[in-house]
């Protein structure tokens, strides 16, 4: 199919974007990499009157270290993150996650900010942001504000972003020595959305783990943290007995939504498989 007609504007500054959003409200859509928006336009699932192309805003580009965080601009593409030496050094979970995002042609266009703002519960970046305790930086008419990833995802495709705000960056605390991370996902085909996925991080204290964060993809209306199981793992050595206990805890805690081909029971089982694999790798 073809997109319905729309007006197209390409502002140079975030302030111009915000003014346009205030004027046009829900009739406008923000276009960055377009790897979701263009598909919905082509299928006429979305028929905005105006498309605001933000890819000309230089301030939204770039990946840099700022103090104790890695700041990734909203327009950084998945490929740029995948190939960034800074990301590999300071947020290696992202380097590991990037190849799971669709395919190369899509990673070349799709953006970090777009994925964070779109909030697909099966997508990699929102889950990674949660697993690493990241922060979403947004800008609106009242200026800039920082929202913890834990507070950003409210419901299905619903975030704490106000209608006249845009995501300008996402910040990740720099990986400290002894940080452990892991990512595992099951998809029908590599690059497809996860049936179930898990992004995890922790600090190693000797053989034990502390500050465990387990962020699941594809199980709830948002990326979802298994907080009870995280607590259970606190201070534990992830040996075989702990792995079994954690998997049992997770399967009691998790309440997955089905998708077209997988029941909640299947997803509950698969979530446990992923947790077991990652904990085994943490123990290795």
């Amino acid at each position: 199919m073809k997109a319905a007609a729309f007006d197209y504007v390409k502002p140079d500054t975030v302030d111009q974007v915000i003014a346009l959003l205030q004027t046009h409200g829900d009739d406008a859509r923000v276009l960055a990499g377009g790897q979701t928006l263009m598909a919905t336009l082509n299928m006429r699932l979305s028929e905005p009157l105006m498309v605001i192309d933000i890819t000309g805003i230089a301030a939204l580009r770039g990946i840099e270290r700022r103090g104790d965080v890695l700041r990734i601009g909203a327009l950084a593409t998945h490929t740029q993150i995948e190939e960034s030496a800074l990301v590999k050094q300071h947020a290696p979970l992202l380097t590991e996650a990037a190849p799971h995002i669709a395919h190369r042609a899509i990673r070349n266009s799709g953006t970090w900010g777009g994925s964070i703002a779109y909030a697909d519960p099966a997508a990699e970046w929102p889950a990674c942001l949660l697993a690493l305790g990241g922060t979403v930086v947004v800008q609106g008419p009242r200026g800039e504000r920082r929202i913890a990833a834990d507070d950003f995802y409210l419901g299905l495709y619903t975030t704490a972003l106000a209608p006249d705000e845009i995501v300008i960056a996402g910040e990740i605390p720099l990986a400290r020595p002894g940080q452990w991370h892991g990512l595992s996902e099951l998809a029908r085909r590599h690059g497809d959305y996860a049936i179930v996925g898990l992004a995890a991080s922790a600090q190693r204290q000797g053989a034990a783990l502390s500050g465990v964060r387990l962020a699941f993809m594809g199980v709830a209306t948002t990326p979802w943290r298994a907080r009870r199981t995280e607590q259970l793992l606190e201070g534990k050595v992830p040996d075989a007995a702990t792995q079994a206990m954690a998997v049992a805890s997770l399967r009691a805690e998790i309440d997955p939504l089905p998708d077209l081909t997988n029941t909640p029971e299947t997803k509950r089982h698969l979530a446990g498989v992923l947790l077991q694999r990652l904990l085994a790798s943490a123990h290795a």
Partner: protein, 161 residues
Amino acid sequence: MADLHPLHVTVNGQAHRCSIAPRTHLVDFLREDLGLKGSHLGCEHGVCGACTVELNGQIVRGCLTLAVQADGGSVQTIEGLSQSGVIRDLQQAFVARNALQCGFCTSGMLMAAKELVETRPEATRAEVREWISGNYCRCTGYHAIVDAICDVLRQRKETQA
């Protein structure tokens, strides 16, 4: 609403100035306005990869890119790559390995394969499969396509050795 927008774009080395409706995606512009029919449209929602073209040196989904977004940029299509000869070895390997089949997916496969052999010269067969899994072949000719790309990776490595 929806006024035409100016578009200044270099396609296969040739500059074009025109006006275009914002809703037109890149492959419709290439096919309908410029008559370059080598890039194909399959699904038009980014899944099949038949529309893959190079924009500013990287492969993109032509159906998920607005033509106006190419303004000021440079596009390479299969026609350009064929004429310049930069993927002659890939094209020959596709013929030799019977990897063409009906040909519908071939231009997208070649665009994707070009970026693979240029950016990942050490790619293993498994990595080739994973990379090319973003492109659908409706004849299911995948094995032959993977064989052809692996041949070129090997040949290019031998040539450099």
